[in-house]
């Protein structure tokens, strides 16, 4: 082949079975209306970020995370009748390392907040949180309790709040679908420093309480300090 001739595809050499099958609808195993709309082209043009966000929003793995009363309604949301999986986000994963979304279904108390923060930290980015029920908003009916954290947002960032005590499964489905929309649109709550952080004991500001506990807690032990007087 000489170099001054333009390159011409030899049609007889091109394998076209797959393309023809797609266009004529013979092998409709992989066919769909969307596929037909694209015609013969196997390519689409989109922004990579947009595509990725669409993928994330369409297939979210929840963390299997039960805390209190709301987790009963959450189980009902996953199970028959309400079936969250219809929306592409119904497979709870037992390990935080496999999960994208954490539904916080219940009251957070002093002993549990550090553990929840730890579980949240173990989830890979990008991660999203649905706060389920009044307790995760403000402490709910237990807001006055001496041991209750006034809302999960004191500890971890929350993308969607679903109010109710407990919210009905329909409400949770609505919340999750809203989250999917937001994720697909590339929106998420900014990750900010929360009032209650996990930190090493030696990093705490010295005061009466810290001095008192100094012989009980090692310097490098992780602690969470609650300032109940400043809570909302």
């Amino acid at each position: 082949m000489s170099s001054d001739q333009p390159f011409i595809t030899d049609e007889s050499q091109v394998v076209t079975e797959t393309r023809d099958a797609r266009m004529t609808g013979q092998g409709d195993r992989f066919n769909s209306r969307l596929r037909e709309a694209f015609g013969s082209s196997p390519f689409i043009l989109t922004k990579f970020d947009k595509f990725l966000n669409w993928c994330r929003g369409s297939s979210m793995f929840m963390l299997q995370f039960g805390i209190a009363c709301c987790s009963i309604e959450m189980m009902h949301t996953y199970a028959v009748k309400h079936d969250l999986d219809r929306f592409g986000s119904g497979v709870p994963r037992a390990s935080p390392r496999q999960a994208d979304v954490m539904i916080v279904p219940g009251t957070i108390v002093s002993k549990f907040a550090p553990r929840m923060k730890r579980v949240y930290d173990q989830m890979p980015e990008p991660k999203f949180v649905v706060g389920m029920g009044s307790c995760t908003i403000s402490g709910g009916p237990f807001q006055e309790g001496y041991n209750v954290i006034k809302g999960a947002e004191e500890v971890i960032p929350i993308d969607i709040h679903v109010p109710g005590c407990p919210p009905r499964p329909e409400a949770l489905v609505y919340g999750v679908v809203k989250l999917q929309e937001r994720v697909a649109n590339g929106e998420a709550a900014p990750v900010t420093v929360k009032p209650y952080e996990l930190e090493e004991f030696s990093d705490l500001e010295r005061d009466e309480l810290v001095d008192k506990l100094a012989d009980q807690i090692d310097d490098d032990e992780l602690v969470m300090r609650y300032n109940f007087a400043d809570s909302p």
């Binding site: 299997q64 995370f65 039960g66 805390i67 209190a68 009363c69 987790s71 009963i72 309604e73 189980m75 009902h76 996953y78 199970a79 028959v80 009748k81 709870p92 037992a94 935080p96 219940g106 009251t107 108390v109 002093s110 002993k111 549990f112 907040a113 550090p114 553990r115 929840m116 923060k117 730890r118 579980v119 009916p141 237990f142 006055e144 309790g145 001496y146 041991n147 209750v148 005590c165 407990p166 009905r168 996990l198 004991f201 705490l204 309480l209 810290v210 008192k212 506990l213 009980q216 807690i217 032990e221 992780l222 602690v223 969470m224 300090r225 609650y226 300032n227 109940f228 007087a229």
Partner: protein, 554 residues
């Protein structure tokens, strides 16, 4: 009738008058402090073991229901509420005052094993110290907590620090002892098999469990404080729904309603009692269905068929409850003196829906037996594992399906009748195996009994005369029970004896509100069932205990 007990002949069950008891205890009694439900004897704080042992061995009081502690202006007080498994209407309260400046009292743990956790809770929340206690630590609050939240001078606004101890990698060398070669393993507090936020500190010897210690308090929502800051008439009733939140709401509401109604001397109309009985048994079905569902999950694996089947049945019964109460889970349906509203209109529709639901059990129970109990793999996992002998169960104060699965014939619906139960025809279910399988069987058979009760209630309600449909007694707008009246009353919740101790101080709020949670006592038996077994059997034992952490931690 089926409600009569065939075995009530032994000497232990012979009822003694308060004066005979006082004579039996002799010098141990320093004063009398009677409660509405039982005679109360005041004793010295260093004679607790001797007193309780006398009552247990010579008078047959073998059930320590609960230890309720409280602080007065001039003293601390622990009350041991004793009962008999053979006849829970025979009660006695042992009141142990302790010094205000140095509250020390003798531990009852050597006599009743169950006192271990109850006294730890009293130490944690009130601040009474128990001499001779094997392991007096905080139980509900973090180890580093400052102050005792239900004591009088507690400052709710003070800052607190909770720790997240770094549990070292169990495979590191220093966790292996050269001789025993044990390994430490954390299960929970975030783990699918712990049914909520429970933490099991487990020491393994090879595959076997050398020791397991439940670590609770991850859902301690200050329920007792919430009840103490609410008024009797309306503000307390929403909270019981949230103790045992597995749809057992009405059963819990009944516990509070019963205690408060007896305290304020309120008579509930019969019609309301029938509605209560029906609603409560619907709740029991829903609660047992979830127990069945999660137990099958623990044994069989991931979200599988049995879970879906049981949740499906729960949805059906929740629909009925929603028709009746207006809510799926947190019903808030009972009121002191009755219920909040009558059956939904049109009534015929509600009755026919309920009957449709009741028509299913023969088939669906058959289905469950095919899926679960006659499954060989399931049987291998559950039969003869997690054994709880009846004497041990009693020593730990176990009640409900856990006790009945060990052959302890104890059901407050029959033995201490309330509501409309004693007018209906049903049986108390017991199994003698004492293993994981028996506890499951008890629950499955109780579902059938509950269906029988609901059916009889529907029959009664259908034929109830139109002009006697009275759902509420006349109750004063503000209830102020007399100063210094005390009462302990229990009902048969989904998990066992759910009791409430209330002390009134003449105001419209209780001065002390103590919840006796059946799960708290039941969970305490876990080490007895699990030690020496394999890890999967621990999970099975925990599943068969059917604890709900909202009620354990309150």
């Amino acid at each position: 009738m089926s409600l009569e007990r065939p075995d009530r002949v032994d000497d232990d069950a012979v009822e003694r008058t308060p004066d005979e008891l006082e004579a039996l205890l002799g010098d141990l009694v320093v004063d009398r402090d009677d409660h509405l439900n039982a005679p109360g004897f005041v004793i010295r704080p260093d004679t607790v073991q001797e007193t309780l042992r006398t009552l247990k061995e010579q008078a047959g009081y073998d059930h320590l229901s609960v230890v309720s502690a409280q602080e007065y202006e001039n003293r601390y007080e622990s009350i041991y509420h004793l009962k008999k498994y053979d006849d829970p209407t025979q009660e006695v309260s042992i009141v142990v005052p302790a010094d205000k400046d140095d509250p020390v009292s003798e531990s009852a743990e050597p006599v009743f094993r169950t006192a271990d956790w109850h006294e730890r809770e009293a130490y944690d929340l009130i601040g009474i110290e128990y001499d001779d206690h094997p392991d007096l630590r905080r139980i509900l609050l973090p180890e580093t907590w400052q102050g005792h939240p239900l004591s009088m001078d507690y400052d709710k606004d003070r800052p607190q620090i909770a720790t997240l101890p770094e549990h070292a990698n169990p495979l590191e060398d220093h966790h292996k002892d050269a001789e025993s070669d044990t390994m430490f393993l954390n299960i929970g507090p975030h783990h699918p098999a712990t049914h909520g936020v429970l933490h099991l500190k487990t020491v393994l010897d090879g595959e076997q469990v050398a020791d397991v210690e439940p670590d609770i308090g991850y859902l301690h929502r200050s329920e007792e404080q919430m009840a103490q800051s609410g008024t009797y008439r309306h503000q307390i009733m929403p909270y019981p729904d949230r103790w045992d939140y597995i749809s057992a709401g009405l059963l819990n509401e009944w516990a509070y309603a019963r205690a408060a109604e007896d305290l304020a001397d309120i008579e509930v109309p019969e019609y309301a009692q029938v509605i209560r009985t029906m609603g409560a048994e619907m709740c029991r079905i829903a609660a047992h269905m979830l127990a069945l569902a999660t137990f099958a999950l623990d044994i069989n694996g991931d979200f599988t068929a049995t879970f879906m089947y049981a949740i499906n049945d729960r949805e059906r019964v929740q629909n009925l409850l929603e028709d009746l109460t207006g809510q799926r889970l947190m019903f808030n349906y009972f009121r002191l003196g009755g219920v909040v509203w009558d059956l939904p209109e049109p009534r015929e529709e509600f009755f026919s829906k309920t009957r449709d639901f009741l028509d299913q059990p023969p088939e669906s129970v058959e289905e469950y037996h095919n899926l679960i109990t006659s499954n060989e793999v399931f049987q291998m996992r559950t039969i003869d594992t997690g054994i709880l002998p009846p004497e041990v169960a009693k020593n730990y104060g176990a009640t409900g399906p856990v006790a009945r699965g060990s052959g302890v014939d104890y059901d407050l619906r029959r033995d201490d009748p309330y509501g409309y139960y004693d007018e209906l025809d049903w049986d108390v279910v017991t199994e003698d195996g004492g293993d994981n399988f028996s506890r499951l069987l008890v629950r499955m058979r109780e579902v059938e009994e509950s269906a029988k009760i609901i059916e009889q209630c529907v029959d009664l309600l259908e034929d109830w005369p139109e002009d006697e449909r009275n759902i509420q007694a006349n109750v004063p707008r503000t209830l102020r029970p007399d100063d210094d009246t005390e009462i302990y009353r229990a009902v048969e919740g989904a998990k066992g004896e759910l009791g409430i101790y209330i002390r009134a101080d003449g105001t419209d709020k209780p001065a002390r509100f103590k919840i006796r949670s059946p799960c708290f006592s039941n969970l305490q038996t876990l080490p007895e069932m699990a030690n020496g077994e394999y890890i999967p059997d621990v999970i099975a034992a925990l599943g068969s205990l059917d604890v709900v952490l909202g009620e354990v931690d309150r």
